[in-house]
Point group: C2
Chain length 442, copies 2
């Protein structure tokens, strides 16, 4: 028996229905609704078509407890959400000018030293019986309405404006229900999706609570755990299952929810007061950039080298010409030499190096496209090692997955578990690589 409430999400815009831009709002809103106990039963994308928008709002209002609409609140002629909302919620009534909205618009422009254009006045209109929702980051205020027991929230399309409005104005105004939906995600890198699912066994049964499903993206496999009920018991159930998943995926599981591999590596490095440098060939800076995405990166990351040409591999990191000639730039000794060079020349405690063939060209029989060596060196004792992977995917995939494998290699080293096998790992003889995980169900 489900205790949750039901919601629908509507995205409005010609640019969306023509496939010209990606709709990131729908996924964000559906996830945010689930967190507060609202189960999405439908998402719909429509063009800037007043009648279609009004029809969808009316149809949803009969079936769900809450509707969230994004887009169509701008100042131009093709912004029709406020009119469509009027058609649905207050038919035959004219839109009204909201005095608070007029103030909002005038102060928005005044603060920027600009004067309001007449077209912007349209943004102060709302159907009678509805209320404006503040927008601290733009001119388009939102509108809250009701049709019967259904609460409707219209928000502007830009995520930077929509997301704070959703948190500040929509969440507190949602019709309360008895239930909540608790969710958690556990991430691992190193097991393929099918092996990872096998390790979860009966946890993945469809009729179990909490439910557990897996998704995979860029090599990372995520278990998504979900339970319904009252907030405390749903959370406890989810927590217990999340721990079971982490045990089943040990030592590959590196974190939950928003935790990244870099975050996991960062904790271990900062804890032991160690530092890291990188040397990148085929990734061209992607590993460094991924590390710097993490706001506390300066606590452990010193920097590194992008040694894309062989000349720079020699000149900047001292890889011997003879080694490059004998083994090629994509080879185990070169990956080790790059990692060692990074440690020696930066003074860092650890060095990670990536050299590979990202494609589309450059592959050969012994070194097909996707062949990547990741080197790991440490200052203490001067140890270094390199592992060979054959990674499936296009140029971007191969580079992204290489960077993630490098981080997982370092994490496992820091945990004293450097020997565990990893997805896509291939012995130098060129044995068949493991099957890649897919990002989406069939």
């Amino acid at each position: 028996m489900s205790t949750e409430r039901r919601a629908a999400v509507l995205s409005v815009g010609d640019e969306l229905i023509l496939g010209q831009i990606a709709d990131t709002n729908a996924r964000w809103i559906l996830g945010a609704l689930a967190e507060v106990g609202f189960l999405g039963i439908e998402h719909r994308t429509l063009p800037d078509d007043r009648a279609a928008i009004a029809t969808a709002i009316l149809e949803f209002a009969r079936r769900v407890d809450a509707i969230v609409v994004t887009g169509g609140l701008g100042p131009t002629a093709d912004d029709l959400t406020r009119e469509a909302l009027g058609d649905a919620a207050a038919p035959q009534a004219a839109l009204e000018l909201d005095p608070v909205a007029i103030d909002h618009l005038e102060s928005f422009f005044t603060r920027r030293g600009r004067t309001m254009s007449p077209s912007n006045r349209k943004q102060a209109l709302r159907p009678p019986g509805t209320a404006m929702l503040p927008n601290p980051n733009g001119t388009a205020m939102g509108i809250a309405a009701r049709i019967g027991a259904c609460a409707i929230f219209c928000l502007p399309g830009p995520p930077r404006e929509m997301q704070p409005m959703f948190r500040a104005s929509v969440v507190p105004a949602l019709p309360t229900g008895a239930g909540a939906i608790a969710t958690a995600a556990v991430h691992q890198l190193g097991l393929g999706e099918s092996v990872a699912a096998e390790r979860l066994g009966a946890m993945m049964d469809r009729d179990r609570s909490p439910t557990v499903g897996t998704t995979a993206s860029g090599g990372v496999v995520t278990a998504r755990i979900r339970a319904e009920g009252d907030r405390a018991s749903a959370s406890a159930l989810v927590e217990e299952t999340a721990r079971q998943v982490e045990r089943a995926w040990h030592p590959y599981a590196y974190g939950r929810d928003e935790r990244t591999l870099v975050g996991a590596v960062a904790s271990l490095l900062v804890e032991s007061q160690r530092t890291l440098a990188v040397a990148e060939s085929c990734t061209g800076g992607m590993l460094g950039s991924t590390i710097v995405d993490f706001p506390g990166a300066s606590d452990f990351f010193v920097g590194g080298w992008i040694v894309y040409s062989n000349a720079l591999k020699e000149r900047l990191l001292g890889v011997p010409t003879a080694m490059l000639e004998a083994h090629g730039a994509v080879s185990e000794p070169v990956a080790r030499a790059l990692a060692q060079g990074a440690v020696e020349r930066s003074g860092s405690d650890y060095g990670l190096a990536i050299t590979g063939i990202a494609g589309p060209g450059g592959g050969s029989e012994g070194k097909p496209v996707g062949t990547v060596y990741v080197g790991l060196a440490q200052r203490d004792g001067g140890k270094s090692a390199a592992r060979r992977f054959v990674i499936t995917g296009d140029r971007h995939d191969v580079r992204e997955r290489s960077a993630r494998l490098a981080l997982q290699m370092l994490r496992l080293e820091l945990l004293g578990m450097a020997e565990v096998p990893l997805l896509w790992e291939a012995p130098p003889a060129g044995e068949k690589a493991s099957t890649p995980a897919t990002g989406r169900r069939a």
Copy 2:
């Protein structure tokens, strides 16, 4: 008068409606349909709910010429698209085993040295009167059906499987219409969205053909041009307007459609046989990585340095300690010194350097978060210069926009137009930065 045909897109999956993964298929399919003259009038996302899927298919079949469904074709109990299609297209009839599909499945498993599990046999089922669509990349074949005049195509969810099937099996089977939709996109970086739109003037009138709309993402403003009609005249109209847009946006417009800033820079560098190196602080390798995304990068890109710590700025690129102490790492002289150091120590013709405060911490009154200096040096004549920007957005935005501004600075230098002003540019006195463009309409 519109000559186009109408289409609807349906995405199926609990993981989508819970907001757990992003639906990239819908946008791709809507764009691909537009290219062959089908205008999307609605996109809908539904959970794995047999009745809801069947209802949507029936409802769409009354309103559109073609329906594309993705997801729900896997082997597990929650994959219900084939059953729902049967409910809609052949009610009361049992699903049939397709012998070709059985062969496909058996050979798929045999080639991988595995045996087919009984659950996979489900994937050979289809409603009577429908046909299987080949899937070269997975076990889930597609299904083609008709309800009245409406053509229905069910495809698996993983993009790597879906996209080739769409091209090979859906496009040739779409009901032909008289019309086509021609589209083009023109990209520029350097003008804010409002200024860019003003320069287009009457081209953006809603009732004009071709229609022109702008979208903005990460500083890049794109004009999307669209005309309907017979293929030749629609294409000619779009081409003419694209040229007008390029003239209006000169010299900021750098390319059309899939062309990237890196691609534009690459052409200019390769043409003049020049090479490039980078030195990155706050971007941490993102500029290098963006360059290496371009498959021909090795023709002009040698590599560079990630000098995240000040120690590495000194040690690897020779930035004087006194300069760092007097001006700080985020300063005009340091940006120039980094670019010069990159040229001198790599032997490249050009050097690009980025040093800035990406946030969330580290800002001060004189150097707020978003302050970025981009340095550009060249070997010929030893010239160097740096420009100051104050970029809005979060940590990732600031870094991404910095990398793009650096590439546009180099492009303009290569065109002999280094002096034109750029978005977010701010004189060192700390004058107010220009307003950022938003990525999506309100």
